[in-house]
Amino acid sequence: MTDLTTTPSTSDALPLQAPSLPRYGTIAAIVFAIAVGALVSMVIGAGYVAALVIAWLVLVVALPLWSLAVEGGRKAVDRVATLLIWSTFGLAMIPLVSLIYTVISKGSGILSGQFFNNSMRNVLGEGGGIYHAIFGTLIVTALAAAISVPIGILTAIYLVEYGKGKKLARVITFLVDVMTGIPSIVAGLFAYALFVLIFGPGVRLGIGGSVALSVLMIPIVVRSSEEMLKLVPDELREASYALGVPKWRTIVKVVVPTAIAGIVTGVTLAIARVAGETAPLLIIAGFTTDTNLNPFSDRMTTLPVYIFQSIASPPGLYRQEYEDYAWGAALTLVTIVMLLNVLARVIGAVFAPKSGR
């Protein structure tokens, strides 16, 4: 018995396991790197950004070197790759975190009842608000949704239910893809060119903004609705046909209700997307300091355009006040867009058809 156990240890038989870093190796290296970074930056008197950069450099060099010594080259390369790939994620989070932090910290100061209840009419400097811009955004976006949702969903229904294998369907799919890529400012120019034909040059209308936004919104609605309609199992359709239900009723009463959660999610996301659009509205809806609730006459300010104008061309003396307005409006806009996004997810999660029992 003792013979058996002792013999392998004396001979130089191959080990069953390749040598590897201890389980806590990565964590130890991270702690070590942070310590070095903090120490160095304290010694040379640099800020926490420098400390982080140094810590990262130390980590990227030290862990692979350790690994190279213990585990060999291939494992070391793997560790470098893992580190770099996780670093890209960290790097990508920096803009998101800093953006949200900046918007909240700079924008929350100005929010008040006055800010939401005043327009910029007769305001120079303090006392202005975003009342007109909020209503502009609501009206323009609602009209855009009213135009694009029926067209988008009906097109998706055509693609899934009627157009299978037809040439027109292939053309439409392709064009919808192309439409997804239209730069928003080109959509604005299109709406402008269209309305110039009707109303003459220099036209600025809220409804024009809605038309421009629909050009951007329709492809998003078509895409998401199409995906959702495709997910409806054919058995449901066949069962309905077998009962003698006409095709259009099958679609309206069986197919669409089954997919409705996904469709509503897609529509909500599309609304969130276009609510933040600036460029087309700048061109066709224009800018005004007044509250205008009629989309069919005159200029109409929306929140994004309001932000842009407050920064791009503030009245010289009141630069600071207008920057504050811009941040307040940005916080409002981001909040609206985020709420719409959360709403979309909730709708998707709550109303999704239950998958089996």
Partner: protein, 328 residues
Amino acid sequence: MAGTVQESPTEPDPGGPGGSVVTSGDGGSTGRVGDRVFAGLSVGSAVLIVIVLAGVAIFLLEQGLPALGNSGESAYGKDNIWAYVGPLLFGTLLAALIAMIIATPLAIGVALVISHYAPRRIATAFGWLIDLLAAIPSVVYGLWGINFLALNLVPVYNWMGDNLGWLPFFEGPVPNSGRTMMTGGIVLAVMALPIITAICREIFAQTPKMHQEAALALGATRWEMIRMTVFPYARSGMFSAVLLGLGRALGETMAIALVLPPSVLVSFNLITAEGASSTIAANIANNFGNASGSKVDTLIFSGLVLFVITFAVNFLGRAIAARGQVKG
């Protein structure tokens, strides 16, 4: 509903492609009329999309082409229209190029984290965070770019100007505002990142499990497995993702309009304010409000140029994606 169901047994099944209506004696059958109306509606809205897109092209051509002869005052003081649009086009391409150089490796890394590195539960949350990045309006990016990012990048630019100044890209002088081509490119990179990530991560996740497991079973490390199975499988998809991100970066307006000072010139100097050429989209946004007469035509013409380029880039991207799907 109930009424029609009772009537409908007499009606033929309009279901499949060959299921055309043969006989329907009773005139009041809602099924047939309803079917026609509904099919008409859905075909109509599909055709409407064709019309709208044709309209975009036709109206832009109609309003923009007259500007081809513009010069002097109506071309914003340039000798001919191309002397005006050319530098803007250069600025557009340069900003988009910087954005792609920064965004592509980042996006691929982030996509790999979500598809292969992070545990499943966390990966979903990570994907959601990246989607948030896509949801933020572009004007807010511009606001952040000009008031936060640009200012914080000034020390970096100063360092670049001091140490890399011998490269023509980093000559300086660095403006205190930090509003440079580089800043514009970085903002665009942040905005294009979620698009590229979204497409890449979907394709990465589609890599056949068997290939991956085979590689791991042969003793490959995770990185070797990714290089040997995931990247070859996803190559065309990654390429088309980058092209679609490029399409976004080319057409992006507000961030650039806020971050870059409006000037029309050709310069490779990335970290100075004087040498920053504006982009087509930003230039339209900055000037459209004050433009009148033939200047409007000039701006619309530049928009037409932008439309053609983004169309080409997106077309290429979709074509490559489609080819990859057939092959895969």
